[in-house]
Subunit: 366 residues, 2 copies
């Protein structure tokens, strides 16, 4: 997580509330109903607040291109297609993934409160932003949330020469009493494509377990990797890369295959405006500890566990104490809320240009 | 998976049915009720049939030691402690994990058939063998099965100097129509402790992403690693090890913490006869695609996906085509059933010695 942070430089800042209002206005301007736009802005700005710029409002120009080319339907409303007890299928009808995701996730939260456990799957969707947002929404209710999505092929399965499968994220959030929330939100690749782009800007050599080049050999430069494929978590076969590939595949099974959406190599390229609709699948699994020995007891145990981990002896080359998943992002979120979200020049300029295009005021930077 | 295979040598063979009967008899001899013993032998022999010797009947002498020292109660029967809708908690009362796991998993399968999705958690348990067995049992019914367990601390969380967390396996199985079953069954460490022991016997140097030595530096020899800790999937921080650590942690959250069992550094060492009971937690999540567009349609989509993967172009250094998780084990299972299970000399001698100890006939090798 920390390894994906950009080096600090002087940047523009914007208050989260201002950015939320601006994104909502921009998205409504595209023909999005206000309640749908609220979800889009909440999820995108949450990524910016948590320092995950690659999944936040920096993507807005690409979403807008999809809408303008008629590829993403901004007015679509998701529908509940089928449900039985603790399972439901939603169709996003090619609308905003953030809204369909929020609606399906809320169904799973409400049903888990009734039945202890529930799963909602979504088909016909588009990118839904950070998976962690949905899982955290369950955790805010005292529940354990799991959010999964498939995505465009960027990862080479172990032994394959080219990208056939997405970076298919896994997010799991659980309330940890006084400690806060534990949030694992990870791509199933070793690093993200965004991290390769950072290496390109810095002129860094790549670790050979990050990516393959176009011919299927380990990519040693960012340029070679960007023409090739990412490697799954674990890297090559010898270091357990087949496990990361297996995880990416099971995420696709639980999302695209289960929902009857697109999967694997059949998903169109990331934010492509030339290959038709995405038809992504998302899945939300929610568990309520209340029926076991109660939400409070669960949270207390998890807080005690977190305390044991963060006070453990560290390795001699460790830069700091053991971290709990989600801690770095929670710390950036607090800083964003207190001091404003930091935005690099390209990002700020892109949003200003988008404002002009859409005929709205530019976002108010401070 | 293949990297953990031992080099081929001439070995004893035993028919799976003979081994199942012998294990049942041996386990009953210890004071285990016959229905409980049936589950123990089914799970242990399944591991042997699938070539996962480290989790099969080779462990039987260690289980027997636990029983003889009064640490594992062979006669215990699991009880359903609480249930509500799609969630249930079982207490294994310190009995055989294989039986408590089978009972809880069967509850989740039956409930998922009614409600579309269900979760069963178990506390107070012992090692339950291969997690894949439970997930495959759900898949045999046309459902998607997920099986998780925590385990004794063997893995150092990212930045920690020592083992604080288990290799906490994740197994997911899904029926894939004419292709068979997709089964991911993986420890969340880069390699297993068994793989380090293999390196020791072979005198191999270790990959630096496999383990730490006692002081918390990368272990370059098996001896150093066996006195230290395994590294999580992904290895060190730079190559995504914090994701493997995060996965190990969320498995523990979904098992030990959720069930109110032991977790993390509080779990006694593996098969220890000196540190009290294990109090492990297991969790089974089962999903029934029937309520969506049906089990058959799901299986057909997954078979088509598997076909796309296994026919994809391979990397220039790939030893063979792309594999689907579970394929190598399914192939070994077929060979075991056709030609008998291969058993190395140590394993065969250990079982013969155990037979003498327990006053039963030795297993009939061929």
């Amino acid at each position: 997580v920390t390894s994906e942070e950009e080096p600090r430089e002087r940047r523009a800042r914007i208050w989260p509330g201002d950015l939320v209002r601006w994104v909502t206005e921009a998205v409504v301007q595209l023909g999005t109903p206000p309640d749908v736009a609220d979800d889009v802005s909440a999820v995108l700005v949450a990524a910016d607040r948590r320092g995950i710029a690659s999944h936040g409002t920096a993507r807005l120009p690409q979403y807008v291109s999809l809408v303008r080319r008629g590829i993403l339907d901004p007015a679509a409303q998701p529908t509940l297609e089928r449900s039985l007890g603790a399972i439901a299928l939603f169709d996003a009808h090619n609308g905003w993934g953030h809204h369909a995701g929020r609606v399906a996730n809320d169904w799973a939260v409400a049903t888990a409160i009734d039945l202890g456990c529930a799963i909602a799957v979504v088909r016909g969707s588009n990118h839904f932003g950070i998976a962690g947002w949905y899982a955290m929404r369950a955790a805010e209710n005292g529940l354990v949330g799991i959010a999964l999505s498939n995505s465009s092929p960027l990862v080479a399965p172990t032994r394959a020469r080219e990208a056939l499968i997405g970076t298919n994220p896994i997010a799991i959030a659980a309330p940890a009493g006084g400690f806060g929330t534990v949030v694992l939100d990870m791509a199933t690749s070793t690093v993200s494509r965004g991290r390769i782009e950072v290496a390109q800007r810095r002129g860094e050599a790549l670790h050979p377990s990050w990516a393959l080049d176009e011919a299927g050999y380990p990519a040693l430069s960012a340029e070679a990797a960007l023409g090739g494929a990412l490697l799954p978590l674990g890297g090559h076969e010898e270091t357990g890369g087949y496990k990361g590939y297996g995880l990416a595949l099971v995420v696709d099974i639980l999302t695209g295959v289960l929902a009857g959406a697109a999967y694997g190599p059949n998903i169109v390229p990331l934010f492509s405006t030339e290959h038709g609709t995405s038809d992504l699948g998302h899945t939300f699994i929610v568990i309520d500890p209340e029926a076991l020995d109660g939400r409070k007891a669960f949270g207390q145990r998890l807080a005690a566990y977190a305390h044991q981990l963060i006070t453990a002896p560290v390795a001699p080359d460790a830069p700091d104490r053991v971290l709990i998943p989600g801690e770095p992002e929670a710390s950036l979120e607090r800083r964003s809320d207190e001091q404003g979200i930091e935005m690099d020049d390209t990002h700020a300029a892109d949003l200003a240009r988008l404002a002009t295009e859409l005929g709205v005021e530019p976002p108010r930077l401070s």
